[in-house]
């Protein structure tokens, strides 16, 4: 029975990416191409999966505590610009770039968190303010030009498939460990599900919130790093343009929440991101125009949410069957 249960769990967890893979393989086969034709496709897939995973982990961290953070995208952009400039200006070794960027984005996250706990405003408001400031700083710091590093060859070789895989795995290990094996993770979960009780009991809510923001910032730093080094270019964003960075992460986050019921949530998000990574590669291979991509993504999100929110009702529909099983017992 227990074996059956675990098989069922594993089945649910892998069914989503496998299903998507099958559909995409079918779609590409019709056009006479294969999903993974050469190493570049593997790289695209790994890169998308990594970017989406980190973004979704960061988004989920605060969103699941009821804190919507508009500043995620701007943190990625600003930290990658500052970090890269520092690395280049002070001639730091290339591999240290990721650490510098993550350090800076951690500081940016810290600032977000401090603004939140100092002003005691709803995070959706403080994060709009912080996001506007960070966006504007990208402009002020680069005199509006953004940053181009297309000739810094030692930096550009960093996002190889192998390195991306390492980043993804190490990132997952760290996030998994933090959320499941540290006091911070446990307190975070307790505050998430019972804020008032937890605060009354004496959990350090403010410290936890700040650390959460910092962690989210650092995760976005990795995104900034990957974008900077693969594109060799980070543009300036103004007037809320940076918020779009997080939209791609909604679907994986919800898939993660769903899978999280059967396994670990961070792992669920990873599986969700993997799925989106496949979808992204599918877009590349099928050469779909941007608006179609967005449209398909939005529809997938809607469909999945609908399924998720009506699961209760679905269960009701199937309740009769369950009842008869109970009787036979």
């Amino acid at each position: 029975m227990k074996l059956f249960q675990s098989i069922k769990k594993i089945g649910i967890v892998i069914s989503i990416p496998v299903g998507v893979f099958v559909v995409l393989t079918f779609l590409t086969q019709i056009q006479g191409i294969s999903l993974f034709a050469h190493a570049g496709h593997v790289q695209t897939f790994v890169r998308s999966t990594t970017i989406i995973s980190f973004t979704a982990w960061a988004l989920a961290l605060n969103l699941q505590s009821g804190r919507f953070d508009f500043s995620l995208g701007s943190m990625a952009i600003l930290s990658s610009i500052i970090g890269t400039q520092i690395t280049i200006n002070y001639g730091l070794p290339a591999f240290s770039l990721i650490f510098v960027i993550v350090f800076i984005s951690g500081l940016l996250g810290l600032f977000s968190g401090l603004v939140y706990i100092t002003l005691k405003l709803a995070p959706i408001i403080t994060s709009v303010g912080v996001m506007l400031i960070y966006e504007a700083l990208t402009f002020v710091l680069t005199d509006g030009q953004g940053l181009l590093i297309s000739t810094q060859f030692d930096l550009l070789v960093l996002p190889s498939t192998r390195n991306l895989l390492i980043i993804l795995l190490v990132g997952f290990a760290i996030v998994y460990f933090i959320m499941n094996h540290t006091q911070f993770g446990y307190n975070h979960k307790a505050l998430q599900h019972g804020q008032e009780i937890a605060v009354n009991t004496g959990l350090p809510e403010k410290r936890n919130a700040i650390l959460t923001y910092m962690l989210a910032g650092m995760l976005m730093g990795v995104v900034g790093f990957i974008n900077m080094t693969t594109q060799g270019f980070t543009g300036v964003s103004l007037n809320f343009t940076s918020i779009s960075a997080m939209f791609i992460a909604f679907l994986p986050m919800f898939i993660g929440g769903y899978i999280g019921r059967f396994s670990e949530e961070r792992f669920g998000i990873f599986i969700g991101s993997l799925t989106m990574g496949l979808v992204t590669l599918g877009f590349v291979r099928l050469d779909l125009p941007r608006q179609t991509q967005e449209f398909v993504n939005a529809l997938l999100l809607l469909a999945f949410l609908t399924y998720l929110n009506n699961q209760g009702r679905l269960k009701l529909i199937f309740a009769f069957r369950k009842k008869s099983v109970n009787h036979s017992k």
Partner: protein
């Protein structure tokens, strides 16, 4: 107590952050900070005239170079002050910016924005503010409609035909060298006119050598057929999922690729993929003479550039300056607003590029210096007339300008 600590923490942290930002900013930016616009000293004659500059993208490197020329060179040498708009990406934003400039009391607007230009021209006429086009062109029909508009000064810039020609020349340059495997980047095709025209130019050059182009019904860039030539395409801009760079990497790594031709944003979007591919691939692009391309040429990533130079917007200023000084007659083409084509500087090797780059980016000795501009400004040179002006603008090539300077 706790609360107090938080506030102190925030304060200390903010200072730290500011320090950090300052550290990275100070070191990285050798040029004078273009944001600083309060430095223009009052000149001897009269109050400073305000000129509004409308830009389509505050983050575009070409426009930033333009801004530097106006604010760091022209403001220091003429009694004017430039106000720059935000990025104007819709007709609505363009209108808002026009309203604001008029309200701020500008004497003229120089526009690099074309969301709904005719409406803006109408507004400026109503408000009695001079209007000049610093880039892009008007159709004959439009120019006709504006013939009796006293406040419309004229336009200088590459016409759409010129844009098409630039694309054609670039493609031709490589075809003539015998290359057969191309990757075309169409940029904002079909939404951005300038990219569309350049791409059409490239297509024309390819068609001349026997390539068949199949246009697509939905308006997107189509496909190519040829036995001899292999042509792949990319279009669009980066997105958040990484799909764009996935496509770029895929195309760049296509075996046998020899040349990348971009309708814009060459180094920005392809430099990295080139660096990462490690193959020997040429790149030709239409962009501007700025740092990124300096690096690109030095690293051998780019070997053909059709680009604007920072002070290419000197002549339009001269025209506007004449207008606001009341010397409208020297900028009137037989009583009508002028429309003068101004093309690109073209660098086909590193040495050419470096020479042009140096002159383009100098704020002490730009291509169009005060001495040069004064030749067509009536208040400085009473003998000048429209024909002078027209030939002055048309002699835009690097060689002609260096000759003028000597």
């Amino acid at each position: 107590m706790n609360k107090c600590l938080n506030k102190i923490g925030l304060l200390v942290f903010s200072l730290l952050l500011i320090g950090l930002l300052a550290a990275c900013n100070g070191d990285s930016d050798p040029q004078t900070n273009g944001v600083d616009n309060g430095a223009n000293e009052e000149q001897d004659q009269g109050p400073t005239q305000k000129i509004g500059v409308q830009i389509y993208d505050a983050t575009d490197s070409e426009l930033i170079a333009f801004r530097r020329y106006y604010q760091d060179y022209i403001e220091d040498n003429y009694n004017v002050e430039f106000l720059f708009s935000d990025s104007l990406d819709t007709a609505e934003a363009e209108r808002t910016s026009t309203e604001n400039f008029i309200n701020q009391g500008v004497a003229a607007i120089i526009s690099f924005s074309d969301s709904d230009r005719m409406s803006v021209i109408q507004m400026t006429e109503d408000a009695g503010v001079y209007y000049a086009i610093g880039a892009g062109t008007l159709s004959d029909e439009q120019l006709d409609m504006l013939s009796d508009n006293e406040y419309f000064v004229g336009s200088i810039g590459p016409s759409l035909a010129e844009e098409e020609e630039v694309g054609y020349d670039m493609a031709k340059h490589y075809i003539e060298q015998g290359y057969t495997n191309f990757l075309l980047y169409a940029g904002g095709y079909p939404f951005v006119d300038m990219h569309l025209m350049r791409t059409h130019g490239m297509i024309r050059a390819l068609e001349e050598v026997g390539v068949t182009y199949n246009a697509r019904e939905d308006g997107q860039i189509g496909t190519f057929e040829s036995d001899e030539y292999t042509i792949n395409t990319v279009y669009g801009f980066p997105d958040d999922s990484g799909a764009f760079f996935g496509t770029v990497a895929e195309r760049v790594n296509e075996p046998g690729l020899e040349v990348i031709l971009t309708a814009g944003l060459g180094v920005e979007f392809f430099g990295t993929a080139l660096a990462q591919s490690g193959q020997d691939i040429r790149m030709g692009t239409v962009a501007s003479f700025e740092d990124a391309y300096y690096e690109g040429f030095s690293a051998g990533q780019v070997d053909y550039l059709a680009g604007k130079f920072s002070s290419s917007i000197g002549p339009i200023f001269a025209a506007v300056y004449n207008a606001i000084n009341g010397d409208m007659e020297v900028v009137r083409n037989n009583g009508n607003p002028f429309r003068i084509d101004q093309g690109y500087w073209i660098a086909t090797n590193v040495d050419e590029f470096n020479e042009m780059y140096e002159m383009s980016n100098s704020t002490e000795n730009p291509a169009y210096t005060k001495e040069l501009l004064d030749m067509v400004i009536k208040s400085e040179n009473p003998d000048t007339d429209y024909d002078n002006f027209e030939s002055f603008v048309q002699s835009y090539s690097f060689d002609e300008i260096t000759n003028l300077q000597d």
